[in-house]
Structure formats: C-alpha cells, structure tokens
C-alpha cells in the first residue's frame, strides 16, 4: 500500500555533495545545511551495500530494536545487593575453573600478564604451592579457563578469578538480570596488573578472607545501593568512572561510614587501610552495574548497538544483542601512551580487560569531557576531554539521561555504540587504560589510549546485514 506524498509548502534542505547546490538554495533564502561529507566505510562496496540495507530497508526494524536496547541501557537501575564468594553465586562456576577477561582463549595464547594473574589465582585458591606448579596445572588443563562474560561477570585489566574470590552481586530488577564483578584489588603488587609476587597472591587472600566478609557485612547492613545513581553524582564531580573513580569512591565510603565503623576489629582497620589506598575502588562496582544493563539490553534481537566489548590481551571481541556470537580480532596496542620512567613501547602488553563495558553505557571515554583528570591525561585542556566525548558522539545512537557533563552544557554522555556508525565513519571506540608490562611481571608501566580495532565491528555489521 503506497503512502500518500504531501508536497512540501516550503523546503529546508540538507545538501550532501556539491556545495554549489547549497549556495543556490541559500541564495533563494531557504534554509540549508551543507554536509562536509566523507566517503563511507573506506569506500568498500560490500560494506556500503550492508550499510544501505541497515540504514535503508532494514532501518525500521534495526531502529526499533535499538530504541529498546537504548531504553534498557539508559533506564535500567542496577542495585548492589550483596557480596559473596564467586562459587556461591556465579552460575556455572565449577570447582576448578578460572574466569578471565576478554573473549575465550586457550592457555598457549594467553599473554604474559594474564598468565601471571592466573597463576596467582591458582595459588591463592590453594590448588598449587607456587606459580610454577600453577602454570603446569593451567597448561595441562587441570585448571580450566572460561571468559568471565560467559558467566555474567566482568573483570578488570588482567584479572582472573577463582571460585573463592569475593564478588559484587548486582541486580537490575527492571530486566531481571544479575551480574558480578570482583572487588577491586587496588594498586601496587596486584594480579590484575599482571603481577604474581607473594605480595600479589597475598592480596587475593586478603580480599577473600578479610575484605570480602567485611564488605558483605557492610552491604547487608547498609542495604541495596543504587550504583549508577551514585556514579551520576561522581560524573558531575569529575569522574569518568573508568580512569577516575575518586569522587564516587569517596561518596560510597561516606555512605557506608556508619557500617564500616561497626565492623569488628581487626578487619575494620585492615579494610579501612585498604579503602584509603584504593582510589579505583568503585571501578568494579560500576563495571558490574554496566554488565547487568548490557545483560538486559543484550536480550533484544536485531539491534546494531554493541553490548559486549572486551579484551584478553591477545584478542579483542564484541557481541551484538540477541546472539552469543563474538566478533574477535587481535587486541590493539595502547597508543598515545605515557610511560613510567624506564619503560617504553617495547615493554607494553596489548590492551586488556573487560572494563570497556563502561564505554557501552555512557561512562569512561563518553564521559571524558566532564573529567578534568582525564582531560589532563589526554592532552592537558578540557578541550581534549571534550574531543574524546565527541569521538563517541559520532558513533553513539543516543545520549544518556543519567550521566550529564557540566562542562559540555550538561549534555548527556554519548550512549549506545552503533556498529553502523562505527563502520560508516571508520571511527571506533577509544578506551583510556593502563599499560601492563608485556613480559617481566613488573605490573603497570604506563597508561594510554587503546583504539578498538575496526575489523570486529565490520564482521558484526556484515553478519547483521546478512541476517536481514
């Protein structure tokens, strides 16, 4: 049934191409916007055809699915409801498996920092006496590996967690989803930075034996916490919630202070000491909250909005809603890096960790324009932060109504990375991240900006177009 065309009474023109046509419209006094057009998708004809389908005949279906995905990412309210040992709560967490960051990987391909982290976890679990024995167990398959994302869990940097690791339990009641993330290990000699010293292993035991039970008591007493409600306040105070969680961490500790005070000695002081030295404490809480949203959004089929983005130091992978299929390519190097003195690009391991889930819900890079600390890291002026936000604006389908950026006119942070826009513009998400030593176990040696590789977005786009 054809629609009835109504001839316009007046025209308001968008001109894509020869500027002379815009000049002619302007000369007649009609409004016109000139598009400073660029060749889409690098001029690749098969991608242009896929884009024409997904922006054309399939646009209504894709846009409808996207609207629902965006609603879930924006409107879902994740609650911290508890702290528990992973094997108490994480589905499918069996007795001899480690959950690791990124897409699935076999031991021979695991990068050095993640191997060290895995070894430390195996020792902390009590499965091996030392890391050498731990590596043998991992190599033989006696200890298995599974992507944390396959178990509703997200882990930062080079993390690997065993069954005894304490995790945040995050519920999103709007969608009936539940997600998990480990308690942040803090700075220094810690496995999530690829260290496997005795002190690093001891940190895992501390989390399991001291911090976990203490935080469990605090959360039980304090009651459920609206994680992103707190994060939204932190964004207004200069956190991006990925590189900087300072403000939100402080807000959390203030909220919990009465319950922290009620903890029994000596764990009260030990936890207090741990919290006071852990400026990224809120990071994994935000990640768990983001994961509970992407779990809900990820149930909508036919959408072009990315709901998993994750790296294991060897590969980089994304997933689209409605499918378990990963689109995987090599993990990118971390560029624009600042190195600690004595280290350089030769020492740098590739980009790693599940924390990029934050960039999918409007935090991290999308919030850089509101964060003086991140802007300072990116180049020194607030304009550098705004540029990072603008980069996401180009590839995101919407704006967050939850996170707003005071320096950018209180505009919402870009929300919902759309593979169509990514492939069309050839612009991929950028993630501000730490850099780990590639070989020595020295831990963090710098920080920089990892630019997601285009190839996996291209594969996802082609598959989405093929399915239409």
């Amino acid at each position: 049934m054809p629609g009835q065309l109504a001839l316009p009474e007046r025209v308001d023109v968008i001109n894509i191409g020869l500027p002379m046509f815009a000049d002619a419209v302007a000369a007649q006094g009609s409004p016109v916007q000139q598009v400073d057009w660029r060749i889409p998708a690098g001029g690749d004809t098969s991608l242009v055809a896929a884009l024409a389908r997904l922006y054309g005949t399939a646009a209504d279906e894709v846009d409808a699915a996207n609207a629902e995905v965006l609603r879930r990412l924006d409107q879902g309210v994740p609650w911290l409801v508890g702290v528990a040992r992973a094997d108490e709560v994480v589905p499918g967490m069996d007795g001899n498996t480690l959950l690791h960051c990124g897409p699935a990987i076999e031991w021979p391909q695991v990068c050095d920092p993640l191997r060290r982290s895995m070894g430390a976890a195996v020792v902390a679990e009590g499965w091996a006496a030392d890391t050498a024995q731990a590596h043998r167990l991992l190599e033989s398959g006696t200890v298995g590996l599974a992507p944390a994302n396959h178990h509703d869990t997200v882990v930062p940097m080079a993390s690997a967690i065993g069954p005894s690791a304490p995790v945040w339990v995050v519920d999103c009641p709007d969608g009936g989803t539940r997600a998990f993330a480990p308690i942040s290990q803090g700075p220094g000699e810690v496995p999530w930075f690829g260290r496997d010293t005795d002190a690093a292993i001891e940190r895992l035991r501390f989390l399991r034996d001291v911090a976990g039970p203490a935080l469990r008591q605090v959360v039980d007493q304090a009651g459920s916490l609206d994680i992103l409600g707190l994060a939204a306040q932190g964004v207004a105070m200069g956190d991006d919630l990925h590189m900087r969680t300072q403000a939100t961490t402080n807000l959390l500790i203030r909220n919990w202070l009465p319950h922290l005070a009620e903890l029994p000695a000596p764990s009260r002081t030990e936890l207090a000491r741990f919290l006071s030295g852990n400026h990224l404490f809120f990071l994994t809480l935000a990640m768990g909250a983001a994961r509970s949203l992407t779990a809900w959004a990820g149930q909508v089929p036919g959408s072009s909005i990315v709901t998993t983005m994750s790296r294991n130091g060897t590969t980089f992978g994304i997933r689209l809603p409605g499918s378990d299929a990963w689109y995987v390519t090599d993990a990118p190097p971390v560029a624009d890096a600042l190195y600690y003195s004595g280290y350089g690009p030769d020492d740098a391991a590739p980009d790693i960790g599940d924390s990029a889930v934050l960039e999918l819900v409007g935090l991290g890079g999308p919030a850089a324009g509101g964060s003086p600390a991140v802007a300072a890291f990116l180049g020194g002026t607030m304009a550098d932060g705004a540029a990072a936000t603008e980069g996401f604006r180009q590839i995101c389908a919407s704006r967050s109504s939850r996170f707003t950026l005071p320096p950018l006119g209180f505009s919402g942070t870009p929300l919902g990375v759309d593979v169509r826009q990514v492939v069309e513009l050839g612009v991929t998400p950028t993630v501000n991240t730490g850099i780990l030593h590639a070989r020595s176990g020295a831990g963090q040696v710098g920080a920089g900006v990892a630019t997601a590789p285009l190839a996996c977005f291209v594969d996802a786009l082609l598959e989405l177009a093929r399915a239409r």
């Binding site: 023109v13 500027p19 400073d36 660029r38 889409p40 054309g56």
Partner: protein, 514 residues
C-alpha cells in the same frame, strides 16, 4: 623521468574539485601523467597501474586525498603540485553555505538533522557508489530526496524508489538535476513565477525548458518534480512518476500536469498516467511517432515546445508564435553563407535538448550522428560529410573537466574546432541559465560565436533557456548572442529547425509546425 605522490590526509574534495586539480597539473609542461583523487581502493589500483608503488600511499584511505604526478623533472613536479594545490585549495568566494556560520560543518546527515531537525529535503550529489546509502538514510529520516548522482545501479534505484513509494516520499533521480518544490529551485533550475502547471520530467533540461517556457509565456509553475531517466522504463516501472502524479492530482495549486520524457514503456506510461485521477495531463513524449494508448484527459505531444503549447491550449490560453520572424532571419544567413557549407553541428550541454534536436534534425536531414544516437548505426565516429549532434554533458566529454553548463571551456574548444570546418553551415548551441549554471555564459561563448562566423564562417544558432528572473537575466543573455551575430530562437526545437533550414537553404523550414 620522476614520480611523486603526496597525501593530504582526512581531506575530501568533490570530484569536480579533484578534476580541477588534475587539469591544472596536466596543463604544466613536462607532466606526463597526473591525478588528484581520493585514495579509494579503485583509485589506488589506477595508481598501481600507472607504476606508483604501494609504499607511497601506505596507510592512506578513502578520505585521504592524493596528488600523484609523473613528470620530466623535480621542477616540473613542484610546479604541478603548486598548480594543483592552488586549483583545489585556494579560497573561493561564495562557497560557504548558510549565513556566516563559524561552527564546524556537519559531517553526516545525522549531524545535519540534529542541527536542523525541520529539514525535509536532501539534495545528494555524492559519487554514485555511495548515493543509494545517503538516499536511504534520508528516506529513513523522513526526507524527500533529489538524487543528482549518476552511476547508481538500477537495482539500487528500484529498491530506493519502491521504498519511497511505500513511505509516500520522493526519490527524484538518480541523475535528476532539476526540481522546484515549495517555490525553491533545487539543483539546476530556473526561477519561475507561481502558476497552475506542474512539471514532471524524466530529465533535467527537459524540465528546465518546460518550466522556462511556462514562465516566459505567462502561465507559471506550481512544482517541478524530476524522475531520473529510467523511472518510466519497464524495469523500474514508474514508481516516482506514479507518486508524483498522485500527489499533484491532490495538490490544490496544480490544475494541469505536464509530463516530459523520452517515449516511455507503453504499459508503464498507461499505469502512471491513470494516477493523475482526472487532473488534465499533457504528456510531452519527445520523438513519439504514433500516439500511445492513454487514459482520457491525457493529451500527447512530441516535442518540448508542443507540450507547453498544448498545456496552454488546454488551459484556454493562447500560445505565442515561436517562429515569428525566424524564416526571415534564416534567409539573411543563407544569403551570406558559402555554398559548400551544408552540414549541421549540435554542441549541446543539455541531454534532453540534444535528444530532441536529434529527433527533429533527423526528420529534416536524414541520418544525424551522435555520441547518444537515437537510431542504430549513427554512433561515433561519424563518417565524413555527415551531420553531427553531441551531448557534451555525457561522461566521455566530462572526464577530467566540469559539466559544460557549469564551465563552457570544453564547449569553446569544440566550437572553434567546428568553426574551422569548411563544410559546416550551422552550429547549434543551447545556453542554459538558472541556478547551477555558469554566471554569465554569453560572456564566454558569444565572442567565440562572433569570431567563427566572421568572413563566411558557419553561423551559430543559439537558444537561451531561462527566465527573466534567473540570476543571469534572460534578455541580456539573448542580446549578447544576437549582437554576436547568432540566430537566437524562441524555443529549443526552433533552434534545430533553423539550423536544418540553414543547411538546406530553405528558410521556410524554420517555421515548420511541430
């Protein structure tokens, strides 16, 4: 011999601007080969074929501009680069759309829509490979589309138009250069007074001739809708013509619809014309030999001129005598012209005007050869002593140079060349005015016309297509050609008749009823 390849990263230039850079380089003495173009996969292949090494463009992509030169020396290369950069990057007046905006221009349709959410029409002139994508995005956003781009595959056209028809939207094109909606000219179009006749045209200059005549003859125009040359073919099936006619039938301002096209597929034409639902239609089907079987209320005509005359007649208005004084003017010319000059040359910038000229000339003169022949066996190269009519807007003449309506340079070259041919009697020039066209074509062309027709040279028959309200001014342009000794006609069709009359030394032919 030496080669050089320079990259300007993240710099997109329209193809006409790239071509101006390429031309500037090739005009430098000692340049053997040069190109300024985007580093698309296809263009990089061309570079490889020209002997450039891939290490020279490492990392370059489709939005990086390259300037590649093979020349005799480093000096030559430096000169060529300077020339190209001047041609492509020198500031140009009046190029900034909008009023004094200092913000960054939008990079995508989506960006532009966020800035101007009330937008309702997209004009798209990007390269054909990418045009369907932009048009789909515009349709998705609820915009009507004028698709100027060429080289859009037919399958993509069908998909776009079927979708547009479902949505109740227009996709005018591909290859549609002319429209007028809501009183605003889009693309190449002439400024007309409002009036009761709507023009629906398969091609640009057909629409421009119809709208200009309607204005000059005092009727005025309600809307002009372009269709693209393939819309009325069997394969495409006329979806936009159907949509346009139905919308115009429902439009209060429109009392009559003038449809302009080459002869369409008869079944498609019948189906399309019935969409007019009782609103009178004049179908100007250029070169139609015998009438089509059409619904009641449809009048058929075989030239652009007669189509507009029929429209006036249907509305009870008198049409002017388009041949007034023309035979006398032709007689003067014939008396001065050396006897051996018997051939006609059409040097057209407008495709539909060229097509109509081929139809008229071949009826008067027999075979007329062309790069766009209307009958088999009359393609190029033409045998010696034959008549010739060229569409200089076709790709083979616009490779490496702008369209002759925008820049007369290529046409001037051919005009001089034909002026030197001792057997040529008459050269036909169409001079298209309006938005999009050269700001003062007479200033470039008329002096050349005067030169070549001096001392027993061939005569130039000129038709100026335009209206008094066009930026160039109709009367002033006509006067410049008259003063240069050209025969200036009232319609495009009359120019062909006058040229044939000169060639045959039969002045009365110029007044032939069409």
């Amino acid at each position: 011999m030496t080669t050089s390849l320079r990259l300007h990263t993240d710099t997109y230039l329209d193809s006409v601007v790239q071509l101006s850079g390429t031309r500037a380089m090739r005009e430098v003495d000692g340049v053997q080969w040069a190109a300024a173009a985007m580093a698309t996969p296809a263009n990089l292949e061309t570079l490889a074929g020209e002997g450039f090494g891939s290490e020279q463009w490492q990392g370059a992509g489709a939005n990086d501009l390259f300037i590649a030169i093979r020349g005799d020396s480093e000096d030559v290369i430096e000169q060529a680069v300077t020339a190209a950069e001047r041609a492509m990057f020198a500031p140009r007046g009046g190029d900034e759309p909008g009023q004094g905006s200092t913000e960054q221009p939008a990079r995508t349709l989506r960006d532009a829509l966020q800035r101007a959410p009330d937008s309702n029409v997209a004009v798209i002139s990007v390269p054909g490979d990418y045009a369907a994508l932009e048009a789909h995005k515009a349709l998705t956003a609820g915009l009507d589309v004028l698709l100027f781009s060429d080289n859009v595959p037919r399958s993509a056209e069908v998909e776009l138009k079927q979708r547009a028809e479902r949505l109740g939207r227009l996709v005018m094109g591909p290859g549609a250069g002319t429209a007028m909606l809501g009183g605003t000219c889009l693309g190449f179009a002439n400024v007309t007074s409002p009036g009761p006749v709507a023009v629906v045209a398969a091609a640009g200059t057909g629409a421009q001739e119809a709208m200009s005549l309607l204005d000059r003859w005092g009727v005025g125009v309600s809307h002009v809708i372009g269709l693209g040359g393939r819309d009325l073919s069997r394969e495409v099936g006329g979806p936009m013509a159907r949509t346009a006619l139905a919308a115009l039938a429902a439009d209060e301002r429109t009392e009559l619809i003038l449809l302009v096209s080459k002869p369409p597929d008869p079944d498609v034409a019948r189906a399309v014309l019935s969409a007019a639902a009782g609103t009178p239609v004049v179908a100007s089907l250029i070169g139609l030999d015998s009438g089509l079987d059409v619904p009641a209320g449809v009048t058929q005509a075989a030239t652009l001129e007669t189509g507009v005359v029929e429209a006036l007649t249907a509305m009870g208005r008198a049409a002017p005598d388009t041949a007034a004084g023309l035979a006398d003017r032709v007689r003067e010319v014939c008396e001065e012209l050396p006897g051996r000059r018997t051939l006609v040359r059409g040097l057209y910038s407008g495709g539909t005007l060229c097509y109509e000229s081929l139809v008229i000339l071949s009826r008067m003169l027999g075979s007329v050869y062309s790069n766009t022949p209307i009958e088999a066996g009359t393609g190029l190269p033409a045998p010696d002593g034959s008549h010739l009519c060229l569409d200089l807007g076709e790709e083979e003449y616009t490779q490496g140079r702008p369209h002759p309506m925008i820049d007369p340079e290529a046409r001037i070259e051919l005009l001089r060349q034909q002026g030197d041919d001792p057997d040529v009697a008459a050269i036909i020039l169409d001079v298209v005015l309006g938005y999009g066209a050269h700001p003062d074509p007479a200033a470039e062309l008329a002096p050349v016309c005067a030169q070549i027709s001096a001392d027993g040279g061939p005569r130039v028959v000129t038709y100026v297509l335009g209206t008094e309200q066009d930026p160039q001014g109709f009367a002033a342009q006509r006067k410049a050609f008259s003063d240069a000794g050209c025969v200036v006609t009232e319609t495009a069709a009359r120019a062909s008749l006058a040229a044939a009359a000169i060639a045959l030394r039969d002045p009365e032919l110029a007044g032939t009823a069409l």
